[in-house]
Symmetry: C2
Subunit: 366 residues, 2 copies
Amino acid sequence: MGRKRTKSGKIRLAEVAELAGVSPITASRFFRNPEALSVAKRTRVDSAAKELGYVPNLAARALASQRTEVIGVLIPSLTNNVFSDVLRGIYDASENSRYSIQLSNTRYSILQEEKLLRLFLAQKPAGLIVTGIDQTTESRAMLDAADCPIVQIMEIGPNPVDMMIGFSHYDAARAAIAHLFAQGHRKIGFVGARMDPRVQRRLDGYVSAMKDAGLFEQRLVVTTATPTSVTLGGALFTDLLAREPGMDAVFCANDDLALGVLFECRRREIAIPEQIAIVGFNDLEFMASAVPTLTSVRTNRYEMGNTAATMLIDAIDGRRPEHPVLDLGFKVIERQSSSARRSDNRPAVSGAGAANKMVALPSGHD
Amino acid sequence: MGRKRTKSGKIRLAEVAELAGVSPITASRFFRNPEALSVAKRTRVDSAAKELGYVPNLAARALASQRTEVIGVLIPSLTNNVFSDVLRGIYDASENSRYSIQLSNTRYSILQEEKLLRLFLAQKPAGLIVTGIDQTTESRAMLDAADCPIVQIMEIGPNPVDMMIGFSHYDAARAAIAHLFAQGHRKIGFVGARMDPRVQRRLDGYVSAMKDAGLFEQRLVVTTATPTSVTLGGALFTDLLAREPGMDAVFCANDDLALGVLFECRRREIAIPEQIAIVGFNDLEFMASAVPTLTSVRTNRYEMGNTAATMLIDAIDGRRPEHPVLDLGFKVIERQSSSARRSDNRPAVSGAGAANKMVALPSGHD
DNA sequence: GTCTGTGCTGGTAGCGCTGTCAACGTTCCT
DNA sequence: AGGAACGTTGACAGCGCTACCAGCACAGAC
């Protein structure tokens, strides 16, 4: 005999089945596919389970069925506000499903991502959510070979592994620059940190828009691999000013940098938007509250996470979406920091969030 | 016969054992307790596993050993910056262990927490990290009965379930008020949002400090159950000003609110700190970068998460900490927003983060 | 009346791993 | 020399659940 058996009050499926007067396998089916049972047995098993307080043993289920009910999520950062919104969307969507989330942090390293992917795949996840479209060749091969649904989030691009949900960072950046052009700005600087693939594509969008207008100059671009922060925004802006004092606008690759630029302008007594306009990216909550209020490109982060998880769960359950690639678009939220240069046009300083105009643009139509 | 067997190239422990020329159980031990093997077999199993690319099946392990290698984490919010720092600490600490993190969001509801706790406990987690000390009676009973190590994080208090790591929000708030008193402020307002237990204790600390000085007035306190935001900071401050125009300082229960107050002051052309001083809570990164730089109470969020997970893993592995209750303390970081009222004393406006003075205080000694 | 199809149910045989215990070889005592 | 003590190894028997297949009852088709 192995070990001590029938340990204290442990409720197994067999106990439930016995109380309900059915075979264990029938009870098992009740939990996975109740419709397959006759109504009579269904209610019997149901009440037996409730009476005994039965909780299925997930490990045994996973072992026997050769698959888990785990959704693996690979994101590059836990600090970034952007990802916390996405994550919240994912967790919310998974909450009332039978799937649980297994989260891992790649720290913006595609090698780390590859390692984690190998780990995840070995446990046969029910589905996978991965960030972005820039995997290593090896990772890509693993994803292609994986026998579970996969959603790539944060951006859209060619050759999806499976499903994809995001927006075009390139188009979003172009829209931001187009907005600045429309307000009469010409010498527009770019400030970027971390320079992960998505920030790089925002830079690409900026460069192409500036080139299209014949206004591109390399010295208008200041970037760093350092992780983003408000303080860094001020520092990068300082560099930019030193290179090009005549600049009349700055496009910041994210809102933290934009806030840093705002504070730096305040320190230097540079008037916004009269002397320099500011546009950020993501439209975090504080942008509408700053003084002056800060223009930004709104992205649908919560919705992205939520929809990704919902699509994934649907796909796992056999309901594949009609369109595997979903463009969530973006909106340029025009605020005081980028009003037209003529100061008489500047909205009166008033309550936070006042005077927001919105320009909605699905990606791909800038 | 059951189902199709020996599915394509699936590497099991048995295969590794066979290649290494040992029994499966010996190979099993290699992965759990390598020191128990002779050096010769250890290297044989090691190279066999590497050669075959063996990855253990966690479900089988969990089923056979009757325990999982999952650490359950219950936090009240995924949005809050505070928790993303804590989480990062937890994930970092778990990364090189064999434990994986199972995260759930209680959304600041102790009923939801109870429900999730029941769910977690049913899966026999290796350990548990829970937020705060305000559980339902039922939750508390489950925690007391749980046969795994438990760490309560974010604050310290009497009657720990098991281990506890945090600091005294009460003392931290008192220290912030003491700092404002020292700068000559007397009519100090309190602005708080969400009013979860920890914010409530900060309020309690504020009230006690004010009462000790004979300065407490109910109308100096403005709170709301609404989740915190920068915009809300401005709105609450507006309320406060309407009630008590003569106020000379505001203690904000968190930094988002403080930033909102800063912007609102800017909108109203109230000079900081000459007319009103501001002190925030948590010392998020932007506080050092704002104009003026904002005083805050620094809390060790990353360290808290990291230490909690480390302690928990050590305890799971049988190395219980000497002191089960760890006070991580706090520091009042004095910046421009709360400099002494005489304006000649005000630090020159200079680079971000300049002129930080620090006052370190372990909780319990204010 | 026989045959086929459909819906529901149950028996059998594992999924891949580890707890337990026994057994072995070696060293160190007395 | 005998035996205890230790370190190392292996055989066995499951952990709790589900895949697979078979069987049964009943309905409809021929």
